[in-house]
Symmetry: C2
Subunit: 235 residues, 2 copies
């Protein structure tokens, strides 16, 4: 397998890049510029590709982003604070985002002769985002088999699908992923805010993995409050 | 049902626009600017939306087109002459094109509150293009049901899926679709070339429907030769 990896520049996808590179299964990286507030993630994806010595395509889909409503786009509302698994986090999603990015990645895989598209979906995403769940991944692969029937054979590879983000942090530590060159924060500041959904999720995952988090946060302690509030709501 | 219709500006999608408008099922049109040589089709789509009094989104995905190889893009090779159902016509396809456009259209449908995406796939497309076949349409709808689970319910409506292009021309005549304001040619000239796959298909469909073709072609008779050659190969 030689996989084209969807890479946001966050811990999950950068870790999957290192994981695939170790197995010599990494064809290249593909990232999307969709007008996100946090452009630092694209720099992190580029650094990852450079370090691993693979090609990196950044595809500009800002006009799609502009047509779809989202708190992630420049024109969108404020990014909410809180736990990643809260209902409010849905406002941070471009509708149908994963189907759009995967479809483009499958097209690029055909054009480049890669035989798989890899994505770092993981168990922690399942609560809120239906397009990160095993059912979606299965149906997407079936759909692509029909779409490319007789033209190409491209698999969808999602090895973290049933693992937690803490598992990914542990795998990252094993692979010596440079955490400082991964970016999670949705808010686009100079440092991670520590309050948005992905910052809280990142901080919590390091804690659960019992691995020191080298990230500098503007508000390093907020995550505990968000996790506590989320647990109380869940009871 | 209020459907957002994928509209290229060709006969098939413009006829479907009129067909849905007649039933008061048309929410709006969406078209894609992917760097195609035949930009006239976008003008035809715009005219169709104006005439039917519905909104029209043109989404710029030229950077995707630039990354994917295709004879349809400005940077691509020459457009081949011949019958639409010939193997050579595959070179005119952006890999995974329909999955990409449908995925974006589903995102836009969610953003706009439409409850269906409509597409003018028809039986004549099935020979060459796997991503126009009933199996693809079924899997795509299943995939989207999983992708949007709990967030939105958007159907994929393809009423011409098991009809021929000649059937569509007959339906267009019934609906009084202004044929002069539809565009099929891949080559981007001032008039239809009459030699590329879609021109041959268009000319043949009018012939089979026994309806006078008001289109002006640079080479109005080539289609008969292409059809005859295709039939001989098929024997």
């Amino acid at each position: 397998m030689r996989a084209l990896l969807l890479t946001s520049g966050g811990i999950d996808s950068v870790t999957l890049a290192y994981h695939l590179a170790e197995k010599q299964k990494l064809h290249g990286l593909v990232s999307f510029d969709y007008g996100q507030k946090h452009r630092k993630e694209l720099d992190c994806a580029r650094q990852c590709a450079c370090r691993l010595g693979v090609p990196h395509d950044i595809i500009n889909i800002t006009d799609i982003g502009g047509h779809l409503t989202s708190a992630l786009t420049n024109a969108g509302p404020e990014i909410p604070d809180g736990h990643y698994a809260e209902e409010t986090m849905r406002s941070t999603v471009v509708p149908n985002r994963n189907a759009i990015m995967l479809s483009v990645a499958f097209g690029l895989a055909v054009a480049k002769g890669a035989d798989a598209v890899a994505a770092a979906f993981h168990g922690g995403d399942h609560f809120i985002y239906p397009d990160c769940r095993p059912a979606f991944v299965d149906f997407f692969e079936h759909m692509e088999r029909a779409a490319l029937d007789g033209m190409a054979d491209v698999k969808l590879h999602a090895p973290f699908l049933r693992r937690t983000k803490a598992d990914i942090v542990r795998e990252a530590a094993r692979l010596k992923v440079p955490f400082a060159d991964t970016w999670s924060c949705y808010k686009g500041g100079q440092t991670h805010c520590g309050r948005c959904g992905t910052c809280v999720e990142r901080r919590e995952a390091f804690h659960l993995a019992a691995i020191a988090d080298p990230t500098s946060y503007d508000d390093p302690d907020y995550w505990m409050q968000a996790v506590a509030e989320h647990r109380i709501k869940g009871q």
